[in-house]
Amino acid sequence: MVVFTVRRALRAVLTIWIAVTVTFFLLRLLPGDPTLLVVEGDMTPEMQQALRVQYGLDKPMLTQYWLYLTELVQGNLGTSFRQLQPVTDIIVARLPWTLMLAGSAFVLTILLGIPLGVYAAAHRGRRLDRIVQMFGITGHALFVPSIAILLLVVAGSWMGWFPIGGAIDPDTRGLAAYLSLFHHLALPLFSLVIVQLGPYALTLRTNMLEVLGEDYIKSARGRGLSSRRTLWKHALRNAILPALTLMGLQLGTLVGGAVLTETVFAYPGVGRLIFEAVGQLDYPLLQGAFIMLAITVVVANLITDVVSMLLNPRIRT
């Protein structure tokens, strides 16, 4: 069990390292060397050179890479071209919002998806099952900005049910602050959950159907255990594992969706930061934001893996 966790953790570190390496070289090997942008327009060659030295751009690429890695390990992602602040500080200020948005979406999807999937599988062919199937397939076709704009305009503007933009009313305290937080979170959250929920419920339904055909379900019923018990205890526990793994893999997609959602709802997370950084051509910030998101996703994935492992004795023992 420990071995499993350690192996997964090593793998997570490897993933992050590869992500860092790929982006580092990608950004430097693509045409339109972004590091040149740090040098402002009308400067003398001497000043340019001085700046290049200051940013370490004069060194061989591998040295730069090594420097970047050593700095990264110390939590330093460089300095933003535009905001002239440490990238880490900028991102850390935004990351909690994204974590909360994507994290709640993840949890909510699972919490809603489980009953939907189980119920649909248990009542195969009935109306709810058909809805889940339809919703599951449609989920793949939903374009996050479309949903987000729809929610923004209808629920946010026409109906005025939800606040628009921002993440919290800054003047609230205590319980009111939490309420405000969820009030602001609702629309971005739902636009993510709507997209994720259908496919997740459908996956769970498929897994449930597969599991319900297994001998151990028949055997449980053969022992006289009620269908409810076999469904929620014996079948679900087995069906949820592959679904959880899939959700883990989908985390990257979820975060991608968060980028779009945050952009539409002006939610102050890393996603909107990325959108702004694209507008600013702020490469260190973009790179840093991607790396932080990658780390987040990989860590979340690790957690999902460990939870799966706790639920699955075949891996654990």
């Binding site: 923004l152 606040p163 933009g165 921002g166 800054p170 003047d171 952009t263 507008g279 600013q280 639920l311």
Partner: protein, 542 residues
């Protein structure tokens, strides 16, 4: 560990994570509005803005939000009223002495820094000297002829000029922020001073907290002399960041904000007209939209290229469509607002892509590979993403230029980036909008003088003849010849096609009229509704 324990451990861990993520809600946001709830006076005015504050140093800041917040916090000698007249703010009055070679400002004695120190002539002198020393911002251009600054007493500042310059006092008085010497002095090199916390100001509102990406909270300065009896009704001014103009509009409709700091885009004006509670305030324009060519670019250095580019800009259609007719066309660099200075004999470059192409071919460009584009003529056009009108203009110009065989790329970037790129000359063509020109002479000096220190000569033009013309005009004190000279420059710049003027926009601001009233708007989109003076006069609707 048995199964049940594992489950509960997992759930507990999850709950803990969520709680932690939500922990510290609203902490570090400074004093909440609730804590200073002094009864009915605890009124908050929430203003939407598109960008964050990029720089808290008023001597060098650029972006709109910077200006809004810092102008309200740091007093100016003069302010501009609704009719674009300069009226006293920190200065009670000013007068020229010595045939215009001395400008003497008399300060009010009741402006006080928020740390209790009075605002004195020393602060004014310090501010001006620092701007001159480090060539900060466009004010540096206005101070070029200053020889010496004297402060005979705490309320008198005397600027000695090398030569008389009529718009000097108005220009400097209006543009220059006065900073507290005793605070800024400690920073040493003020050009590197971030000034990003513990703000000390003397304007109507003082910045309390800044949460980038979210909001900036300003508190009423109870000692602001221009506040109405009993202090400003609005105790707290809160700028909220809405990077997207749609969300800002929706937030206003929704009641999340009370005022849009940025003007309503022309395309959205109609949508606000049906809304009962939203009021639209129209203000005059002191600026204009234009296209500027960076003459450091080898292509744009050629007059014919610039002229040809002017010919692919269909200003009439742009006004009709993008601005929905709510704008005035202009020719040459002098806005029709300046009335007699505007050279009305100038003829706009007619929209004619075919002729433009011909002109370019005369200038030596050819389409040898037959792809319909003139070879090597590739230019990048930068614009400000947060200005919906101009991003659309850029798109239209791009397409029309293609008809003339010119390949333009439109880089509409985030506003602060746009400003820093244009400031550093990192662009070919710049589609932008001047916010405020308070007089034509200052405009010409700021924008075309090659010696202009820290100025806004975005053409980066170094034209001896133009320099001479400007200097000659600036030295002219008699009215009629002065007008003539300005018109001459207008014609010269038009012929050189250093810029293609687009339009003078009718600016409209939207605010929640059911909640607030009493704004004292100033012309231009930069000042608009949010000057410290204006905010201090706002009253809640009973």
């Amino acid at each position: 560990m048995n199964r049940r324990k594992r489950w509960s451990a997992a759930v507990a861990g999850l709950a803990a994570t969520l709680t932690l993520a939500a922990c510290g809600l609203n902490e570090g946001n400074g004093e909440p509005g609730a804590s200073s709830s002094g009864g009915a006076a605890a009124t908050t005015l929430r203003i939407g803005t598109t960008t964050d504050v990029a720089n808290f140093n008023p001597l060098q800041s650029l972006s709109k939000t910077d200006n809004w917040i810092l102008n309200a916090m740091y007093p100016h000698l003069l302010r501009i009223d609704a009719d674009a007249k300069k009226v006293p703010e920190l200065a009670e009055k000013y007068e020229y002495e010595d045939g215009g070679k001395k400008a003497v400002f008399t300060l009010r004695n009741d402006f006080v820094w928020s740390d209790g120190k009075p605002v004195t002539s020393a602060d004014v002198k310090y501010s001006a000297e620092m701007i001159m020393k480090y060539k900060l911002g466009n004010v540096a251009a206005k101070l070029t002829w200053v020889d010496a600054i004297e402060t005979p007493d705490d309320t008198t500042v005397t600027f000695t000029l090398k030569q008389p310059y009529a718009p000097f006092a108005e220009g400097v008085g209006f543009w220059m922020s006065i900073v507290p010497k005793h605070v800024f002095e400690k920073a040493g090199d003020v050009s590197k001073f971030a000034n990003d916390s513990d703000w000390i100001g003397a304007g109507a509102y003082i910045l309390q907290t800044a949460t980038p990406g979210q909001r900036y909270v300003m508190k009423r300065n109870d000692k602001y002399p221009y506040a109405p009896e009993g202090g400003a009704a609005v105790e707290t001014v809160e700028y909220r960041v809405y990077p997207d103009v749609n969300t800002m509009q929706l937030a206003l409709r929704n009641g999340d904000i009370d005022l849009m700091g940025t003007p309503v885009p022309a395309s959205a004006v109609a949508s606000f007209k049906d809304d009962q509670k939203i009021k639209l305030q129209e203000v005059g324009s002191l600026g204009f939209a234009h296209i500027t060519y960076n003459v450091n670019n080898e292509h744009l250095a050629k007059q014919k290229v610039r002229q040809a580019l002017s010919m692919v800009v269909d200003t009439q259609s742009i006004i009709k469509t993008v601005l929905q007719g709510e704008a005035t066309p202009m020719v040459g660099p002098i806005s029709p607002i300046f009335g007699e200075y505007d050279n009305t004999e100038l003829q706009a470059y007619a929209f004619d892509p075919a002729a433009a192409r011909k002109l370019l071919e005369e200038a030596g460009y050819a389409d040898k590979d037959g792809d319909g584009k003139l070879d090597d003529l590739k230019l990048e056009m930068v614009c400000d993403q947060s200005n919906p009108n101009l991003t659309r203009v850029a798109q239209v110009v791009r397409e029309d230029a293609a008809k003339a065989g010119v390949e333009l790329t439109a880089s509409c970037v985030e506003r602060n980036t746009f400003l820093s790129r244009t400031k550093s000359g990192d662009y070919d063509i710049d589609v932008s909008q001047w916010a405020v020109f308070d007089n034509p002479m200052d405009q010409l000096r700021s924008t075309y003088l090659s010696s202009n220190p820290g100025g806004i000569n975005y053409n980066l033009v170094k034209d001896d003849k133009l320099d001479q013309l400007i200097d000659a005009a600036a030295g002219t004190t008699e009215h009629a010849p002065f007008v003539e000279k300005v018109q001459e420059i207008d014609a010269y710049v038009h012929d050189q096609a250093l810029l293609t003027p687009l339009y003078v926009e009718k600016i409209r601001f939207a605010y929640d009229g059911s909640k607030f009233t009493g704004f004292q708007p100033s012309p231009s989109d930069l000042l608009g509704m949010v000057t410290g003076y204006s905010l201090s006069q706002v009253k809640p609707v009973a």
